[in-house]
Symmetry: C3
């Protein structure tokens, strides 16, 4: 448990302390559940009403909100309560899970694999032939990493994740639980007798930039003969599907259950809402946003927003929904 004085926290969040309290602060907590020693957050007037009866010792409060510290409690006024919360979560971050030894004796590491300085490999993980890990890579237990894969410095791979052969992963990435990288793309051709399907062999790979995060149980398929590419800073939520030969620019966001069919291109900073699906070979240009639950079947211009199925301009779709609602009431 990490401990901070109120003065230390005031400095951390660059805020202004109001009221007096000598408690040592030990953890953040929700305003209604907080106990003595906890710090909480008041970003809107909805939460301000709960402050008087909260047992928290300290609150981070958005500048525009009018409250009094109360007896034996204090608060810190800040311009950006969300940013202050993020900074505090970093300060209170607990140690990651314990490794008894850096390289667990039950890990199976091929003798040709190269591990950088300070790597940690958990129990029962598998590291294949000619895999190259940078410095301070963390591989938790029960991970499988296949031949000729390279992984950059400081990347963290959680349990259950499998990375297939020839993947190229950047530095400072986080792959969460049960992630699947580099499985074959989904492609078939009719058999000669027309009665079945023949698998199209996928000999490409997956290339992932730096600072990419991939959520639990998400999948990125390998390219047919070139690469499926995720640019630096992409953030992918849980249960997301990225098909073969997709190319994502910098800092794209894909929310839970969203999916890209094969050969989809995303520009930089594209945001895909939860459960949205993009048809194969579609391009979504930089800065565009796809609403949750949408089905996109044609290209989306830079900086625009689309929603619905089939997806169209968000304003147009809103009008359609309003019109449909009226129609249903006639």
């Amino acid at each position: 448990m990490k401990l901070f004085s109120i003065e230390e926290i005031t400095t951390l969040v660059s805020g202004e302390q109001i009221g007096h309290c000598k408690d040592i602060i030990n953890a953040p907590a929700q305003i209604e559940n907080a106990i003595k020693g906890n710090i909480t957050f008041i970003g809107s007037s909805k939460y301000a009403r709960l402050w008087e009866n909260s047992n928290a010792s300290l609150a981070i409060v958005y500048d525009g909100i009018k409250i009094l510290p109360g007896e034996g409690k204090a608060f810190i006024k800040v311009k950006n309560a969300d940013l202050a919360m993020a900074v505090l979560l970093e300060a209170f971050e607990p140690e990651p899970p314990y490794f008894e030894t850096d390289i667990h004796p039950t890990a199976v590491i091929d003798k040709t694999a190269k591990l950088g300085k300070g790597c940690k490999i958990g129990a029962n993980s598998y590291i294949g032939k000619d895999v190259v890990l940078g410095d301070h890579v963390t591989v938790y237990p029960n991970v499988s990493i296949f031949d000729d894969t390279t992984i950059g410095n400081e990347t963290v791979i959680w349990s259950g994740t499998v990375i297939r052969e020839r993947s190229k992963i950047g530095s400072h990435c986080i792959f969460h639980i049960n992630v699947s990288i580099g499985a074959d793309g989904f492609g078939y051709r009719p058999s000669n007798d027309g009665r079945g399907l023949v698998k199209i062999i996928h000999i490409g790979n997956v290339v992932i930039g730096n600072a990419v995060e991939i959520g639990a149980n998400s999948c990125v398929d390998r390219g047919k003969f070139s690469s499926t590419i995720l640019g630096d800073g992409c953030k992918i939520d849980n249960l997301v599907q990225i098909g073969h030969n997709c190319v994502l620019g910098r800092c794209c966001i894909m929310a839970g259950h969203s999916g890209l069919a094969g050969s989809v291109t995303l520009g930089d900073g594209v945001i895909i809402g939860g459960s949205a699906s993009i048809k194969d070979h579609v391009t979504i240009h930089s800065g565009a946003k796809v609403g949750a639950g949408s089905g996109v079947i044609s290209d989306v211009a830079a900086g625009t927003s689309v929603v619905g199925y089939p997806a169209c301009n968000s304003r147009e779709k809103m009008k359609q929904w309003v019109a449909l609602r009226k129609l249903g009431r006639n």
Copy 2:
């Protein structure tokens, strides 16, 4: 294989035997595939027509259905055929997979972990520092359970499942294959230079009640600083996403591919249909139902049903669909 006489089965399901048959009953089977010695189920007249030619020795028949037992066959009349089937499936349930030894020698169990009486830990599983398992917990092979997690009595964890640090799991739970518990929530803030995204650290945890079942490849993310909570008796299907800081009441049902974004609240007994998605910070009050495939973007009142995208009252949505169908035919 478990064996029952027809008299034993009649007692089990509290039914009334019609016709005579001396066969020993060895397994349930579908009416068209059943062989001598099998028991089958007739819950509707659709299946009654198949009875005459079925080779089953015995049928459980809903009271209202008129059939004759036929030569050398018998049936048992019951008031509730579904309940009788459920009772029989329990009777015929085979032994679970075999453990050669309770604690497999290849399992890696931190020396600080505490295991209750009669726990079974499968091959190549990992149990981290200060994990506490209750009595008769079953952990199948290739599971990973991280530091400071507690798990209640009789809970069963299937292979491929990963439970991250500080999770609190109740008793009599079942976690199916490749479940992901406690991965980081999906939250970012803009970087100071406005050109990228900074991860918001998630230091909360996951708290799961008693008798909760979580389906294969489903995910429950940890809270930002408090907990993501699933109440007693919740039943979660496969490939479901439950985001950070969601709170589910008692006995909620979420069908396959459904998802809750961050900070969604479900009351007690809420039912979420397959592939439905709920927007962040939405509350769905007790007893409400969300239809399959819906996208819910605002709160849902207790006991009501919503459907569609954007979801609205089911009756209203039906009228919209009818109106749209007419419009398409003009």
Copy 3:
């Protein structure tokens, strides 16, 4: 790396060589990224324009496209560029990941399990009691296969996959990463006091034919007391859900994120688009197609196409969408 002369490739794809080039061909590459020694593909005039400046030594070109080979480069005219590409990908397919020994010493294989000739079992995999593997079955590291399961010749099981007890898997199948086979179906009944849910025990199994491919993180649940069945040649993409007691005919295709609730029947050659969902007990007859993102709530006739939610005939739905678009503009 595999190497071919241009003459060898011309023979492989049954094409006609145009132009002269003595380079040895070492890999396929996209036309804009290709380097000397690479082969590329020109299936449309869009790519033909890039040929002049491409550094590829060789191209496979669809017969109808008019281009010149250019200095020191050659191309091969073919009638079916997609088929030629598929043939070449097979030719260039690299060796699969390396096994240091056929049966890794850390694999845990029950002494009652029977392995055919030439099986490979990766590090830390688990093979349960009375499992029977055919000849040349490949099981990569960190797989779990439970009691009484049988798997046919040449089937490949990738890491993270779990196959529950009593499954019957055909030959020449591929199960990709983190696949879940045979978890319990999702079924409950009200408890006697009406306040909770009682699990319906699922004692059936999963039966999968030959040449079936199942994508990463997909799930096939076991039947209630009979089997969930996938016919020969079915191809299932990533993150797909197949509920208990579903029966799929031959060569069905299910794209990413699609799902079948319980007891759905698919005929032969049914195609389910990405993110489409099918209600329980629905039958989709042979040759029918379900569009991406659809929600199917009633039976679909053989050879027809449906789309939308609720799904209806594709032409009718298109008219509805056009009508709605007009309505939104009024």
